[in-house]
Amino acid sequence: MKIEVDFDRCQSNALCMQSAPSVFEVRDDGFLYILQDAPGEELRQSVEEAVANCPTQAISIQD
């Protein structure tokens, strides 16, 4: 699974981090960091939850 984040849409409110903390991290500098941009299939459900939860629809799954 390949993840893409549109950083100019991202508002760093860390909702994705609650769904998939091993993939998304909002650090103290206020920016979102992608910890792994091609996580394994076992994370699909939590990443899909993060996609749905993102208030600005900044995250997409490429495959």
Binding site: Q11, S12, N13, G30, F31, E49, P55, T56
Partner: protein
């Protein structure tokens, strides 16, 4: 103008969200010509949503607002320069340094600015909040000491500034003329939740209230404001958020059609003029589903419209933009999302979701045919997708 050997040139006026987004999207759509992005602010293009939120509370550094899109050359970013006149028949813009610039395509992304109240001219004490400089000024003020803030207008900006100042322990009074908060987009149920959030978090919310008299101490500290409810407030700072108006004055003598913004079609093309487009807060965009021109003042539409204009110029996608209006706001730790176009005549109904969502509450707004036309989600962003589908379907059936 386009002859053999002539490289196409696109000039974009307004170097903010829509402007940068358009430039970056032009390249993504395969446009190879020259792109000039010019703007009258001195900062690199930045986005505004964090200004009233994390930047103001200090949770994020100022750099957080900077936009990150990159534009491949040939690209020129010209900051601190203002377009002052347009001669559409010659395809030339005049700039405030008396120079001029010609174009093959012109994109207007010059946005909007706060509407002013005659009784409250801008000063050290009275701030019309819009720019990064405004945010830095207020942030510095709010963080150096605790004080008393009066916020005039309980819309998006006013509510967020009130929330952020409370987070910094400022004493905050929020006044609005309306009897209900955001009554143009929210029904009674949603308004009362948003009002309650303000009150629970210590905001002194005064509805059906206006300013009857203001004695402003220009250097701050001792300003006194009388309100229509008969009370008097001593305040250190006043922030006004009573709406914005499109930056179109400089286009008054051009051949463009202006009516609450630059009138453009569903692809962003200006009416009756070749090769001029508009996107974002300055654009009054024809919306096919609603059958009329609408000027949105939100992040999502600025992004979508800018991308659409890029595709129109590149010739890669000539389908009309048919977006569902969307906006969000962060207040007192809540995420509020708005979908569709609401109308006070719609019936408000609480939305129930199949799974138990313990937090938050959502409402749908139904027309007299029972179609869900708009919705507000309070701390229920996980359901955004399904609500979007419902409203999109009801728009298709109009």
């Amino acid at each position: 103008m386009t002859g053999p050997g002539h490289q196409s040139k696109t000039v974009i006026v307004g170097a903010s969200l829509a402007g940068l987004r358009c430039a970056a999207s032009l390249r993504r759509e395969g446009y190879e010509g020259e792109i000039v992005l010019l703007g009258n602010e001195r900062h690199s293009p930045y986005q505004r949503p964090p200004l009233s939120k994390a930047v103001l509370t200090g949770r994020a550094p100022i750099e957080r607002a900077t936009l990150r899109s990159q534009v491949a050359p040939p690209f020129e970013l010209r900051l601190g320069v203002e377009a002052t006149a347009l001669a559409a028949e010659d395809q030339v813009l005049t700039l405030d340094d008396r120079s001029s610039i010609s174009y093959d395509h012109l994109v207007l992304t010059c946005g909007a600015r706060p509407r002013h109240l005659a009784a409250l001219p801008p000063s050290e004490t009275v701030l019309y909040f819009r720019t990064l400089d405004d945010a830095v000024r207020l942030r510095t003020r709010v963080q150096e000491s605790i004080g008393r803030l009066l916020v005039v207008g309980a819309g998006f900006i006013g509510s967020e500034v009130a929330s952020s100042a409370r987070e910094q322990n400022w004493q905050v009074t929020l006044v609005d003329l309306d009897a209900r908060i955001m009554s143009r987009v929210l029904g009674e149920g949603a308004s009362s939740i948003v009002e309650q959030r303000h009150r629970e978090n210590g905001v002194d919310l005064r509805l059906s209230c206006s300013i009857s008299e203001a004695e402003i101490d220009r250097d701050g500290e001792n300003s006194r404001v009388s309100l229509s409810d008969g009370s008097t407030l001593d305040v250190d700072m006043i922030v006004v958020g009573i709406g914005v108006e499109a930056n179109t004055e400089w286009l008054a003598n051009s051949s463009l059609t202006l009516d609450n913004g630059v009138i453009v079609d569903a692809n962003g093309r200006a009416e009756g003029v070749n090769n001029i487009y508009a996107a974002g807060d300055v654009a009054s965009w024809f919306h096919p589903a609603y059958g009329r021109h609408l000027r949105f003042e939100h992040f999502e539409s600025a992004t979508n419209q800018a991308q659409k204009v890029a595709a129109t110029i590149a010739g890669t996608d000539l389908s009309p933009l048919d977006e569902l209006p969307f906006a969000w706001s962060d207040q007192h730790g809540s995420v509020i999302q708005f979908l569709g176009l609401s109308d006070p005549s719609y019936l408000e109904r609480s939305l129930e979701f199949s799974d138990e969502s313990p937090h938050g509450q959502s409402f749908g707004y139904y027309d007299d045919h029972g179609r869900c036309r708009a919705a507000v989600l309070i701390d229920q962003s996980a359901h955004l997708g399904e609500v979007k589908t419902t409203i999109t379907q009801s728009l298709r059936s109009l």
